[in-house]
Structures are given as C-alpha cells and as structure tokens.
C-alpha cells in the first residue's frame, strides 16, 4: 500500500542532515536529474587514496530521495568506486528484482523494500547512488 512507504525509520532518515550541503573542498561531483519528475540530486565527494573521505549531498526531491541520500552518505566514507557501485547494484536489485535488502553496513537500505512495488518511484531512491557513481566516474574513478 502506498502509505506504507513512509514508515518512521524512512522519515527519520530523510530528516538526517549530517551530510547535507556542498563540500568546499572536493575531488568529484555530479548532478543527476530525473526528467520524469524534475528532481535533482548533487553529490560532492572528497577522495583520498582512491577512497571517499567526505560526502556532501543536495537533494531537490521527495522524501524517498532525501532518505536515500542520507542512507548513502551514512555509509559512503571509506568506500572505493567498486564498493560504491556494488552498493548501488544491491539497491537496484532490491527494487527491480525484489531481492532481499543487504545485510551489514547497508542494512538501512531495507527501509526501501516497500518501494519495490512502486516502479515509478524506483528512481527516486536510486538517484543519489547514480549521482555518486557518476561523480566518481567524472573524477576518473
């Protein structure tokens, strides 16, 4: 059911502002938009020795998108490009193929499990991960 998407853990995640805002010193950035709804996500990354050392997010989008950006930024520090892409792939598989949410560090992604049944909202959730992957790609990984 539609309203079940907005459970407390997801709403709390969407209100988490720890990593919200642009970075002043960064090595990678990307802005990705969803032309279907007009939402826009910008991800800034500081990178040290091939791994993310800081992340800043700016979301002009819905609660799902803001929560996804918070879930991403909560785990992104310390990841390299391969690990970030793997997390993005797990999220995509959760939504598109309804596979179980990952365990361990990415267990917060389980809050997005109900979104799997709402295809038109998948990209709301994947947009921050797309932006982060694109930022690393722009920086030459």
């Amino acid at each position: 059911m539609s309203a079940d998407l907005y459970e407390k853990r997801l709403l709390a995640l969407a209100r988490d502002e720890e990593h919200v805002g642009r970075l002043t010193s960064l090595q990678a950035t990307a802005t990705v938009d969803n032309p279907l709804c007009g939402d826009v996500v910008t991800i800034d990354l500081a990178i040290e020795a091939g791994r993310i050392s800081k992340i800043g997010t700016v979301v002009r989008g819905c609660i799902l998108c803001a929560a996804s950006a918070a879930a991403l930024s909560g785990q992104a520090v310390g990841l390299d490009a391969t690990e970030l892409r793997a997390a993005a792939a797990s999220l995509q598989a959760m939504l598109a193929d309804e596979v179980a949410a990952p365990e361990g560090d990415w267990r917060d992604l389980a809050v997005f499990t109900p979104v799997a049944g709402h295809k038109s909202r998948h990209r709301c959730v994947t947009l921050p991960f797309e932006a982060a992957c694109k930022a690393l790609e722009n920086a030459g990984d």
């Binding site: 539609s2 079940d4 998407l5």
Partner: protein, 421 residues
C-alpha cells in the same frame, strides 16, 4: 469556467446530466484501489472511457475491422464509412468542416505536424510567440523548428494568478511574427486564455494563431470559427475517448497552404520515381494506416459528450472546483494554490504546493486513500522554474467526479500533511 459556447447536439439526442447516472456509465469508477473506493482526479492526464465508447470500439473491431479508403470489400466500405463518420462527428463538435479535421496521434502529434509543416516556409528572423505556461508539447516542437530553420521563439510571461499575460502581446508581437501558439486552457493552473486578445494581436501583423486545446476539448462543444483562430489541436484520451488518436483542425485555407509532414500511402495524389504530388487536406496529413478504431471511439465520445447537458456540467464542475480551492485555503499557510482563485475563466484543474511536502510523496499517500492525483512538473518545466518549484500537486476534475471524491481528496491531504511534514 466558461459554459459551452454552443449547444449543438446530434439530431434527436437527449441532453441530460445527473452525476450518478454519468458515473454508472464508467465501469472503471466502480473498482476499488488499495482496498478502498476509487477517486479519479487525474483527468487532465487522461479521462476515463464510458461504456458506450468501449462498445463502439468493440463493435467496430468485431464487425467492421479493415483498412480504410482503398478496399472495395464490404468491411473496407464499413470501416471507411465509420472513420469518415467520426471525422464528421468531430467537425460538428468544433464547428468545422470535415475536410478541416486531420486525425493525428494526439495533441503532441498535431503540434509536431504543425511545427514541421508550418515551419517549412519560415526562416531566419521569423518569429513564433509561445508562453512560459505551455506544455512541453507546445514548446519542444518549436525549439526543434528553431534549430532547423533559425526562427526566433518569444515567450509571453505568466501572471501571478497563473494566466498567460496577454498584456505583453503588444511588446512581443512584431511584423516578423508568423504564428502565436498557446494553450487554450493551462494543464497546470486551469486558466483559460483570453483568445480574443491573442487573435487581435496576431491579425494586426498578419500572423496566424494556433491553440493547444487538450485541456478544453472535454468540456463541451465549441466553435473554432467563433474563436477566430487558425489551428486547434486536441487529444481523444482527454475527452473520454481512446488513446492513440487526436485532431489538428486547420482553417481550410491555412491547411491548404501547409506542405505534408509524413510521407507514405494515402497522402498522395500521384507518385512517380521522380516526384510525388500530394492529396488535398485532410488526407495530405494522414500518411499510412490511420488509427481507425480509435477514431471511431473518438466519434462515439464526441456524440456522448454532446448528449450531456454542458451547462449543468459546467455548474457542477465550478462548484467542485471552488470546493477544492476552499479546502486548500482551509489548510492555511501550508497550502499555496497555483492558479486562479475563483471560478471565472478557468477549468477544473487545480494545482497546489504544500509547504514541506513533495508532490510525489503527497500523491503516494493520497493513492493509499484511493485518490489518483498527479504530482510533478506536468510537462511544464519553464513554468515550474518560473515558480521556483520542482513540481506541484494537481487534482483535475471531470463530469463524473462528485463530492465523495473531494471528501477523499481533502481528508487524504490532511492525513498526508500529518504523515509527511
């Protein structure tokens, strides 16, 4: 909201309106969604289809399915007759001659046809006037033309009330203006265009006028001659007909002046290896097999609308529209109406922004209440940029909507605000 400009109807058709009687004719309205009653308020995107239109399509496809115009067998004759009869229905509905009615794939198809064919004779320095309130389908085809032919696009501003600012016509329209192409009714704000002002400005410089009538066409018969415009585009699926067919009406002399858009069968007079000559309108613009069953369905939809009481429907929809507007006002500062606050010169499309709640989240929670709304930019990104928002939430009404739909909407909105903000 403007009452129907005329009250033409097919000979002998009874004109009645009772919302329960109307609702009973739409099978889909009886279904449940998410375990609750279904409240369909996304009519600006697509209207639902009455049983009589479904029956007409099924009857055609089960008894008369064949290609049109060329065949001499019985079914081909029947299909051609049904297709041309639908053209006649549409012509009657809009006060036009059948040969001025071109069947297309929809409003977008109509406007692309117009931009391509009308634009074929334009060049550097020629100007097209649009507005910031337009649907993308009345912007992008002209941008493609601009990139192809070097024409200049000018955009009328939008007033604080969400209307195209026709006061700016004087400064934007010049002797180089060739066409003014605007939405008759906004798909975001519901505001009705001051067509008279546009036509007057265009005629003062010898320019033509095209209207995107997608949001007007469902609301009763109208008269393109009285409007005084040159082209009018609309879609079947927003006026209780099937998807896949729409109309470009063109004043006879204006259509005759246009070169073809697509090439192929049916649109030619003669083809040789060296060159082709083209059929007269409307066939010149209907290359290939047209959407026959869809056109038959559109004809049935037109007849169905004509049999309703457009004045009573106008009163019904004005009342519902004002109740939505009042309901939003009751939410206080959290809600901002995007569009005219009254019921004059507007149609039942009501957009709004709720402070702190994204349109998609609102729509998702409302879906849980069985209420179908639309959230997002509504294919009007220039206007969203003008407003400084990524999107709005939109409820759009049709004649089958009733008070229970609005109860569900307004109660659902309160619940959504409580959950999301």
């Amino acid at each position: 909201m403007t009452s129907a400009e005329n009250s033409r109807s097919p000979a002998g058709a009874a004109r009645t309106f009772d919302v329960e009687t109307i609702r009973a004719q739409f099978p889909i309205l009886a279904r449940e969604v998410n375990g609750t009653a279904f409240h369909y308020l996304d009519n600006a995107a697509t209207t639902q289809v009455p049983q009589t239109v479904l029956d007409a399509i099924i009857d055609h496809e089960t008894r008369s399915r064949a290609n049109v115009l060329r065949g001499v067998h019985a079914l081909a004759e029947a299909a051609t007759k049904a297709y041309e009869s639908a053209r006649g229905d549409v012509a009657r509905y809009i006060g036009a001659a059948p040969e001025e009615v071109v069947f297309t794939s929809g409003t977008t198809g109509s406007l692309n046809l117009l931009a391509h064919s009308f634009g074929e004779r334009l060049g550097e320095g020629d100007e097209i006037v649009l507005s910031l309130l337009e649907h993308h389908s009345n912007i992008v085809p002209w941008q493609i033309l601009r990139d192809r032919r070097g024409v200049t696009l000018k955009f009328l501003p939008v007033t604080a009330e969400g209307r195209i600012d026709t006061g700016a016509l004087e400064s934007l329209v010049t002797p180089r203006t060739r066409l003014i192409s605007l939405g008759h009714v906004s798909n975001v704000t519901g505001a009705e265009l001051d067509v008279g002002a546009v036509v007057e400005a265009a005629r003062s410089v010898g320019a033509l006028v095209a209207l995107d009538g997608a949001q007007r066409a469902a609301h009763g018969a109208f008269d393109v001659q009285a409007l005084g415009v040159d082209f009018y585009a609309f879609s079947s699926h927003k006026m209780f007909g099937p998807n896949g067919v729409g109309v470009l009406w063109g004043r006879a002399e204006a259509l005759a002046d246009l070169p073809p858009f697509h090439g192929g069968g049916e649109m030619i007079a003669r083809v040789t290896p060296e060159r082709s000559t083209y059929a007269e309108p409307p066939m010149r613009f209907e290359a290939g097999t047209p959407p026959i069953a869809q056109a038959v369905g559109l004809g049935a939809a037109v007849r169905w609308i004509e049999a309703t009481d457009s004045d009573a429907i106008g009163t019904h929809l004005r009342g519902l529209t004002l109740r939505v507007i009042d309901g939003l006002a009751a939410l206080g500062d959290r809600a901002r109406l995007i569009g005219p606050g009254g019921s004059q010169s507007r149609y039942p499309v009501v957009s709004f922004v709720i402070d702190g709640a994204h349109p998609h989240d609102l729509c998702q929670v409302l879906d849980g209440h069985g209420v179908a709304l639309r959230g997002g930019h509504h294919c009007a990104q220039p206007y969203m940029d003008h407003l400084g928002v990524t999107g709005t939430t939109r409820g759009s009404l049709a004649l089958y909507n009733d008070e229970s739909d609005l109860d569900a909407l307004l109660n659902g909105l309160e619940d959504a605000i409580r959950r999301l903000t």
